[in-house]
């Protein structure tokens, strides 16, 4: 298997990130989000998205200052579920951030690729509760129509009236954002499209919170990846959309280039539905490095999946150690300490964080950190962002089902 293959065309196009849109619990829009990363803000607060009566604790990283009407103009926001609202809003932000008009995007061959874990499960929560209380005949048809997860992508197409567009919704759970970025990279690299709007979106829902709670993996108050006293995840929500285009296109229009997508790797543990596998994660990292044409010593920091559970952090760090060597461990951070685990959005938002980190020269911190777990033994850039000259960063994403996806981003430097 030629996992290091960089494309089959003689001179495949280089792919760059020129626009970022994010909806997170520490900031909406890339500027507010970046400020939040730099300041090490935390988005945790008591959950209001659903009734939490009966849970001993119910904190999460909910987005509480999101006004869909500010971002969604053409489509009636009520026709979209909350995750679709996030994906559409983040897309408008990314287009504007890229300095493009909607008409300019519409005139190009485009790809819309959105990853998710839960789709519109919050609406499913509501429908099923209604069904239990008064029977399915009382379903609100507007809500029922919002449920198909394909609307996370098709909502974007409707809002921006895109015509020559390929659309995919990728439910590869908590690694879905990186899958979407990778697909956009391939589509642009091959010349199939001229612009790609890629990322992920998810909304807090009771089903997922409860599932993790039942597994005993919800932290009571704080998400503390790599800390010896870490107690688990905090569920979060939001969206991250990256506008990708070819380097030639970006240069021709004088666009600001956040980062270059150097490559990515996908692999599947094929072992266990929940437990991550160190060797398989290491294999995914290796595939990504080969695909990007980089070596471990070139990676300036790793944006880890870093959920804050005991199993994830030890296994993931073990995989990183396997590739990098115990004596050459990269700085390994988790922004989930700030924004919680936004499921299908997580790795897309993290990719956006990597892109601004490359541009602005800082490493986002891992907050809520008291003492590093010796079994993890990484420099997680505790509590305060760190200034750093960065060239290449790695964004890990792992999911239930052993779906692993790793994206490599590099700082773009002009040849001049």
């Amino acid at each position: 298997m030629n996992t290091g293959m960089r494309g089959t065309d003689a001179t495949p196009r280089r792919v760059v990130v020129t626009g970022l849109g994010v909806v997170t619990s520490i900031g909406i829009g890339i500027d507010a989000f970046t400020t939040g990363l730099r300041e090490g803000r935390g988005g945790v607060k008591p959950i209001t998205a659903f009734d939490t009566t009966g849970f001993d604790y119910a904190n999460g990283c909910e987005v509480t200052d999101f006004d869909p009407a500010q971002w969604i103009h053409r489509v009636d926001p009520d026709e979209l579920g909350r995750a679709s609202q996030f994906s559409v809003a983040a897309t408008r932000m990314a287009i504007e951030d890229a300095g493009l008009t909607v008409d300019e995007v519409r005139a190009r061959r485009s790809l819309v690729s959105v990853g998710t874990t839960d789709g519109e499960s919050r609406d499913l929560d509501q429908l099923v509760e209604t069904g239990l209380a008064t029977g399915p005949e009382s379903y609100d048809p507007v809500v029922a129509r919002r449920v198909p997860a394909g609307r996370l992508s098709s909502g974007i197409i409707r809002e921006f009236a895109l015509e020559d567009v390929e659309a995919v919704t990728i439910p590869t759970a908590c690694a879905a954002g990186n899958y979407a970025v990778g697909y956009g990279y391939d589509a642009l690299r091959s010349g199939d499209v001229d612009v790609a709007l890629v990322g992920g979106a998810d909304a807090l829902c009771r089903k997922t919170f409860t599932g993790f709670y039942r597994l005993g993996t919800i932290a009571p108050e704080a998400c503390q990846p790599f800390d010896k006293d870490r107690k688990g995840i905090l569920t979060g929500e939001g969206a991250g959309i990256l506008l990708l285009e070819s380097l030639d296109s970006a240069l021709a229009r004088g666009a600001r280039i956040y980062a270059e997508v150097l490559g990515y790797g996908l692999a599947c543990d094929a072992l266990h539905p929940v437990a991550p596998d160190r060797d398989s994660i290491a294999r995914t990292i290796d595939i990504a490095h080969r695909n990007a044409g980089v070596t471990p010593d070139q990676i300036d920091f790793v944006s880890a999946h870093g959920t804050g559970t005991r199993a994830n952090d030890i296994t993931e760090v073990g995989a990183i150690r396997q590739i990098f060597g115990a004596d050459a461990m990269p700085r390994t951070v988790s922004i989930k300490s700030m924004i919680g685990h936004s499921m299908g959005a997580a790795s897309a938002v993290a990719a956006a964080a990597c892109a601004v980190a490359l541009t602005q020269g800082f490493i986002p911190p891992t907050v809520n950190h008291n003492e590093t777990d010796p079994e993890c033994g990484v420099d997680c850039v505790p509590n305060e962002a760190r200034a750093a000259e960065l060239n290449i960063v790695q964004n890990n994403a792992l999911a239930f089902g052993g779906n692993n996806a790793v994206v490599i981003l590099g700082k773009y430097r002009s040849a001049a």
Binding site: L124, G150, Y213, A270, A399, G401
Partner: protein, 331 residues
């Protein structure tokens, strides 16, 4: 992306009343009370698997075995890293999700089983296929509306063409259960089944000594059905011997073919035959088309198969996709 020749080397189905993929070409609905295909599954671990996963496992195993990629023990005969998995399903595990939500609403979280959490993950079908057969290559799931099945076949082609894997198991599956019926109240018929195919490069098939059954031709996804079909027909102008049409094909036309009750080698409306098959349709079409090319096409004919899913602007879908399958040639 890739100009590599990608071929179909194995087919599988899990549909009540269908004994083998070739029966997708029959004109009659499966009759009687045929056995449930998931009854073919045996062993432990079935309790927490949803219906879509079980159907996909049946069809997937049949396709992998037909392609010679697994042995009698279900283990791969090639390195697991070389085999990817792509699943298309729009409803997927919605039954498990709805049951979980209902349990929480009724009995609080204490009523839920920790064993069920993995089964609520949206990628569960592809994950179980991978775990069952040790398929360790790229593993992904699409829920792309009515074009999803054809999109999945094309994505599998891209994975092979870009060198990320050597071969891919593609499965399209939709379950029929109360949760699906509640979410699609406008439907009065439901498809319950799965279809699967194995794709690999022509060179890989030749190296393994496996006979290619069909080759993937051009694919397009457009806002209008007419444009999607015109796009692929422009790139592959050979005569269409079989056209597998979208759900609700009323009012759409394809160059060189017309709607109507056609014999084998004419027009196939698999949704009419089996029920609206949503995310499974594109894969069902490719399985039927491959079966036709591999066995039912007239001797010496060079006709191709056109599959189209989603009616786009013409109907009520947000997009339309078209894919052509051609007779297989050697590497």
């Amino acid at each position: 992306m890739s100009r590599m020749h990608v071929v179909v080397t194995g087919l599988g189905t899990a549909v009540r009343g269908l004994g083998n993929p070739g029966e997708l070409l029959g004109d009659r609905r499966p009759g009687g009370v045929p056995a449930d295909p998931v009854e073919r599954l045996t062993g432990r671990g079935l309790r927490y698997k949803d219906r879509a996963t079980k159907l996909a496992m049946v069809a997937g195993e049949e396709a992998l075995a037909a392609a010679g990629l697994i042995g009698a023990d279900g283990a791969p005969t090639v390195p697991g890293e070389s085999v990817g998995t792509v699943v298309s399903t729009n409803f997927g595990n919605v039954d498990t999700v709805c049951e979980t939500v209902a349990t929480i609403a009724r009995d609080t979280y204490l009523g839920t089983s920790p064993m069920l959490l993995p089964a609520t993950s949206s990628n569960v079908v592809a994950s179980w296929l991978a775990i069952t057969h040790g398929l360790r290559g790229a593993n992904l799931t699409l829920c792309n509306g009515r074009t999803s099945g054809l999109d999945a076949v094309n994505w599998a082609r891209l994975l092979v063409g870009s060198g990320r894997v050597e071969r891919v198991l593609v499965v399209g599956v939709e379950p029929d259960n109360p949760a699906v019926r509640h979410l699609a109240p406008e439907q009065d018929e439901f498809f319950d089944g799965a279809a699967a195919l194995v794709l690999e490069s022509a060179a890989s098939a030749a190296a393994r000594g496996v006979r290619p059954l069909a080759e993937l031709g051009p694919y397009a996804r457009r806002a209008e059905h007419t444009r999607a079909v015109a796009d692929v027909r422009e790139r592959e102008p050979r005569a269409v011997g079989l056209w597998c049409v979208p759900e609700h094909p009323e009012g759409i036309r394809a160059p060189g073919a017309s709607l109507g009750p056609g014999p084998v080698g004419g027009v196939r409306d698999l949704s009419e035959l089996l029920g609206p098959s949503s995310g499974a349709l594109g894969v069902l079409q490719c399985v039927a088309g491959t079966a036709w090319l591999a066995g039912a096409a007239p001797d010496g004919a060079d006709d191709v198969v056109l599959a189209s899913a989603g009616t786009g602007d013409t109907g009520r879908d947000d997009a339309a996709a078209a894919l052509i399958l051609t007779p297989a040639r050697s590497a």
